[in-house]
Symmetry: C2
Subunit: 307 residues, 2 copies
Amino acid sequence: MTKVYDRVALIGLGLIASSMFWAMKRSGLAGEVVGFARSAETRDTARKIGLCDHVYDDVKEAVKDADLVVLCVPVGVMGTVAAEIAGSLKAGATVSDVGSVKQDVIQSVGPHLPDNVHFIPAHPLAGTEHSGPEAGFAELFDNRWCLLVPAENTSTDAIAQLRALWEGMGSNVEEMDAEHHDLVLAVTSHAPHLIAYTMVGVADDLGRVTDGEVIKYSAAGFRDFTRIAASDPTMWRDVFLSNKEATLEILGRFTEELFALQRAIRTGDGDHLFDYFTRTRAIRRGIIEAGQDTAAPNFGRGAKDGE
Amino acid sequence: MTKVYDRVALIGLGLIASSMFWAMKRSGLAGEVVGFARSAETRDTARKIGLCDHVYDDVKEAVKDADLVVLCVPVGVMGTVAAEIAGSLKAGATVSDVGSVKQDVIQSVGPHLPDNVHFIPAHPLAGTEHSGPEAGFAELFDNRWCLLVPAENTSTDAIAQLRALWEGMGSNVEEMDAEHHDLVLAVTSHAPHLIAYTMVGVADDLGRVTDGEVIKYSAAGFRDFTRIAASDPTMWRDVFLSNKEATLEILGRFTEELFALQRAIRTGDGDHLFDYFTRTRAIRRGIIEAGQDTAAPNFGRGAKDGE
């Protein structure tokens, strides 16, 4: 594949940045990929496992000659990092990020950046419940969506270049405005995460059923919740606090529906339950058809035939 | 492996029964496995794919000479089926079931059965979101738990025999009393299912975010909910209606916690969120260590290295 950028700087070396590094290397998308992490321990780990062509101890040095700077830090510290690097950015460089919330990032990062750089917020919809520099792998973005959220007056060349990078890393790319992004993600990600965290917390807290029982018998449905609820606590705290309005709106709708279903259970209204459960099944079929999950009967666990 | 039963009759030929058939055949656990399904279409499919050594059109014929009869029908019709077969059961036979709720099944099935059979309710904690005779596979129960819920005066020989069958099909077996079973399952399965159904329903119903967007961007967390929420509607309607009390209790606790977290988001209490999310991460580690899920960073999707 053709090189897209000469020099890329990854700021923050967690799951997403490390996966980006391996994905860029897989296809030769960048001449050089350098990195910075605030924690000395993370920088040491990165150097040890060969993550980044060079790891800097100083964030300003890391971004200095970069054609693309990607902020891969929790949403809550994006603004602080932007303020630190603003004076060291190369003229004509593109600054992007991988935050799960976009309106808040635009408000906190945008004002710090000089006029001679392109700011193109982005959000790859990919992840695992693991975090840190060793969690990344080159295939993380394959066939996953990456949403670009550029402001209206952004250079189309700069957008096309960032799109080419994400496509080169395996993603399908789409553009979206920031407000709609935050609502879509509240539905597909933020509310489900809070709900999963809540359910796992309830199970942990229930005196009459032991944690051991919950863990042993998790295959009955709970397991999928724990996977979601094991995601990085710092990242998710920041997501909820910075996409407050949309998340609370969706949670309000969720509670309303939950109460209606609870009432159907209490009153024995089987038809209401059956109709509701039939409708939700159709969405699942759509996801399988869209290639965003596997229909293998065993979820790819254990069996050989079904895979 | 040694034969455990001479003749087994599976009543209802869906995901669990068909998986039991293939699992018994895999290890030669039964001399003959016969089956019955109420729907002629299901019986035709079963005959076509070689599911069961013989498929009967009459449930009484199916159970007549069986040493083990397993009711694999939705919880809501267990009692009706028990009434139908009661007069045809062989003396000394064991009657079991695979229902997800145990107190209700015991109350609806137990009174119909003659004194000369052993009634040992069971519940394999395994499943997929697929249903029907073609959904089964031999490995479904491998390393999954099967809970036996025998009454106090049940023959220990009969229990040991049923345990041997489930262990032969790959399960880990444990005994539990029915009331505790229903509470444990309300936490690990029934409440999570209702919550997943609810969230998927909300997403489907939200005018401002299209179904297409929900489906495309599901990888961000929502996907795992849709897998749960695609489970068989009839089965789950019956589960909620027959484990009403425990499910509503857990949902009450869930709502309480959810409101506390919503309040933390609204008031910007990041510490509360961070502490809660840190605690839930530990449960996930327990599940990985207990072998009930994979820690592969990509969930076994796509990548080759991580598997």
